[in-house]
Symmetry: D3
Subunit: 245 residues, 6 copies
């Protein structure tokens, strides 16, 4: 089966990391196809960039000419899943919800550790919208920007500190890594903390594979029915751009 793993920012090294994280857990016979949006920010750290990413992802998926059995939306706490579900028949799995679903299977309450303080309300809002906030103990920030996560050691220390406080003070029993760029930290962190650490890209791959295996597709009955035929100016966006992507 083919799973499209779509980054939400335009940083290709990050797309590759997402692809690697996905391939590391993909089942035999699953092909991971990476996709980087042609437009948008080089890191998504707020609502403006998140809204832009929503459209950039839809644009990239529309422009993609290959086949896919499922799509993974690899931005933690970002907008856009709902629109993408309308455009596609195949399952769409957002890494935010994927991580939360899995975390809820492993302990009574989970905490998310994310990047900047300003990302906290976005994540809380997405969990609320997904109906997954009831068992969320807290969303905590490390204060690091998305691209600062590339200093893996520093990132690990900052995430570990917040994760420890989430366990001790917020009563979290499971930690969710709240940024696509944190993939890779989970194994060591879990060993050190003594609690499960859940990473969204990996969870999304397994959920997408599961849905495909079960023959389940997005319901087209109301919310995610295909867009009605109509005039749309400037769409797809990248068709107006100088070729390069």
């Amino acid at each position: 089966m083919k799973i499209l793993a779509v980054n939400v920012n335009t940083t290709r090294s990050m797309t590759r990391s997402i692809g690697e994280a996905a391939r590391a857990v993909a089942g035999e016979g699953t092909e991971i196809i990476e996709l980087t949006p042609a437009i948008g920010a080089d890191s998504v750290e707020g609502n403006f960039e998140s809204h832009l990413a929503a459209v950039a992802v839809m644009d990239a998926v529309t422009a993609y000419e290959g086949e896919a059995d499922a799509v993974i939306l690899a931005g933690f706490g970002e907008h856009g899943k709902e629109g993408l579900m309308e455009l596609l028949e195949v399952p769409v799995v957002d890494i935010t919800e994927a991580a939360a679903h899995m975390a809820m299977l492993l302990g009574y309450r989970f905490s998310v550790v994310t990047t900047l303080d300003r990302a906290v309300p976005l994540i809380e809002d997405r969990l609320l919208s997904f109906g997954l906030r009831e068992h969320c103990a807290s969303v905590r920030s490390t204060g690091l920007g998305v691209l600062e996560l590339e200093d893996a050691e520093r990132a690990a220390r900052a995430v570990a500190r917040q994760a420890e406080e989430a366990v001790a003070q917020d009563r979290a029993e499971v930690i969710v890594l709240g940024c696509g760029g944190m993939a890779g930290l989970n194994a060591e962190l879990s060993r050190d903390l003594g609690v499960p650490v859940v990473e969204g890209v990996a969870c999304a791959v397994k959920l997408a594979e599961s849905l495909v295996a079960l023959g389940l597709r997005t319901s087209k009955s109301r919310t995610y029915a295909p867009p009605r035929p109509k005039r749309i100016d400037g769409w797809p966006l990248s068709s107006r751009m100088p070729a390069e992507n």
Copy 2:
């Protein structure tokens, strides 16, 4: 004071209606400036179009070179308010929240009457995110598309029928018109139903004027802090498009 009233679709006649509805209630000294996005759908009736509208509105506001003391986002139940708040210092008022805030001042519970069935979950989700769902009795659909509202008589009948049921069955005490294109129906409907009927564009104008008069602006402390400086490909979107707007 200058208030920018931004349509979420590309239908200019609808922008004009929004502008008229805004001017009809604007205070002395308030200038309403209409804005139509350069990209997007000619009517917004689902998540894909709504996500696209979020970005199209940000694009249009970014391209706008004049001044504004406040901005009204004139799509009922659409995405994008949060991103726009990041980009601007001046207040941003979404007509969905504006109508709900006003409705809550007038009765114990309100119902929204909107266009298509598929718009219902979008509106419910926005009210949830805004923290305004507690006193919402129901969101009901007329089954009419946004552009079908131009047949004013048919629209009035369809809205009236749902509004009556909301009052009788859902215990609504106030009706909210759930589409920017329904402006103009409220006076007669209110007279017929015997309950207040609230229209979002008008409410948004008064709330925007109020915030400006009180010297209140969007908090920049966390969620709506300005975007961090970074590389953004393809932004603003309309800069890539053939001039015409």
Copy 3:
């Protein structure tokens, strides 16, 4: 238009402050008429006094022989709005809800800073009843009584300290001044804190003006229908009292 601004306690100097705060933001052509209840406590700092204020306000408004286009209930966290809405056709705006509605337009979460610790549950309960608690980060107390607020410098320091903690610890992005007697502190406090500070009397004036401008009145369909005709002993209360008010 005439707006009746009704104090909830019997301290006339406080009524005058409320009137001044109201006039400072009132639009051209808006006349603010102050009203002090004939009965009740000289400051309202608990449930007994609040329940008494509810009736005292209804009594004062009933005794008032002039005209009014809207009424402002100028007690933060006090009871009585619902009964007043039954008695009147014109809009009634409570400063608690007014401040919360406005605060919700300006940031993701707001905190209220009020007087005594014992006022906290009253305010929480009113916000719950109004359906406005979802985005309330916290209600904090300064430990000062209502009349101690007259020492403006001390009040400013105490409010500032709690507001800072609300921003830092409770993630508030907007501060609501939780007492009619705090009017006047907002401008300086906002400058110092760097977040919007919202004051209820001012907000209520603008919301009342807005409702009047939009021709909106309280729904009379169920909850706020006029009282049924019946024998009521001792009403209005002040008719039994020695003339003096």
Copy 4:
């Protein structure tokens, strides 16, 4: 032990019915003392009358010169419990909460059947404030006014019809009689419906006796601390009235 059963309206025949309902279940050694407010409406059917009743009850209890070990507030869905709790050290039990507490012990969900449609939101709001709405399936109205309940047969039929629908449609497993004036209907109704029917006055007596037996009194630590000493004009209300009550 002495329990003060306070009516919320001024209709003495109704006070007597409340007293009888209370005595019918009171334990040996429990004396029920009836109290009728000197002011207020002859039936409480809305917010204005309910707010007035809140104060009238506090006034009557203040004027009462005897002793009491507990106080029952015998208005279903009325305001005022919180203020009364401040004034007294002994337990105060509201019949609304009493009935809901007991109903929750007997089945998974309960429905309230009350008088007029306009009383429904008051009851819902009180249950919300008491934290008792989670297992409330519905609040239904018979359309009868409080004083129309004196036609016992008609009342019984109207209540039975709504109770049946609550069981069949709303999945109620227990019925709560939502008016002090419905005492006496429960035995027959329960037999006919085949589900427990709970009446608030009786429940309140048993809860008050229980609290007294356990030596439990209202917490005075914050919300219900005694009112601070201060000037209160016109209090107690009945002191200003011509002697007669």
Copy 5:
């Protein structure tokens, strides 16, 4: 009347303490009959033991050959009430809900102080299921195991420390003792803290007596209808065990 007080663990000394706590508050004419399960753990401190206790209690009550007018389930935060309600016609009162119901009558918010940290989520989950979590300020643990409570002085100190923090930090106004083995601590603790301290066994006795006095029994209409006749292997459990209990 006869009330069956059923321990959830197999420690007979604890059953006796429960019986004593029950008798200390039982009304005249109430006979308390103690029951110890034949199977299960000597203390219940987690989900496995709690699930086992649920069945052990049902087994013990099934094996009991005498009469009972009501049954008290004397484990704080344990499973099993729902099944027991199906098996019996007479009222069943769980000490967790009993304490919460009573605490809600005494103050705005209550905190539970329990034994081990791992018991906290069980109690939170039971309060959620009972619909009684809205006014629960916190559930705090002393870190002591159930059987360590037999060192009364140490228990008292540990409970007092958590109760003080609940009052100061969590804004609790009432303390609930969150373990059947804490009966006996409440009087002194209440004196020291200055807030009511509620103990579940005592509350359950009074609620059970109240329900019996009111002639109220478990609703058999849906959730708690008697089990359908069917083959059940190994039931009752104790019938398979060597006689000894």
Copy 6:
């Protein structure tokens, strides 16, 4: 990998159906091991039987001497998952939560169609406890008992009727089959209804496989820490029974 699929009742034909449903979707290399409890009811249709099943399942798993990489609890809406999680290190997946998690990925709201009316509150309560009720539109019953489902045609008709009403009236976009015995109905039902139909056993297998593949195990930090060592009478239950299972 080995997955233990544990039935909650003692009907071996139903265990086999569960095993078949599991094997039908299991990945290559996954071995499904069926387990039937030695004690309990031949169908679980209420709280008593559900509590018994909780213990019977723990007993069966304890008695099982083989290895397992994950365990599936194959009773829809039944108790016991939490205790089982304490006893095991490997993941435990309940089919109720499994189905809800998957359904939430496929549409905005889901409805459960179950057997008897009395099962509805059990399922609602489990979804509440799992934090999965927010997007549940309704739980509907067919009126058929668990063993009546063996008449596949009748079952299909009854389920279809409720599913249609869930889609039309409750706005469900996904249907969850609310009984382990309904496995097999989903393909045809989905085709007829035009919305995804989710079956819990299949979902649980894929989620269990996913957790194992990701190396994730139950958090042992608090709620699901192993039981403390202590004396437990009569455990394991089946050790006391005449050999036969």
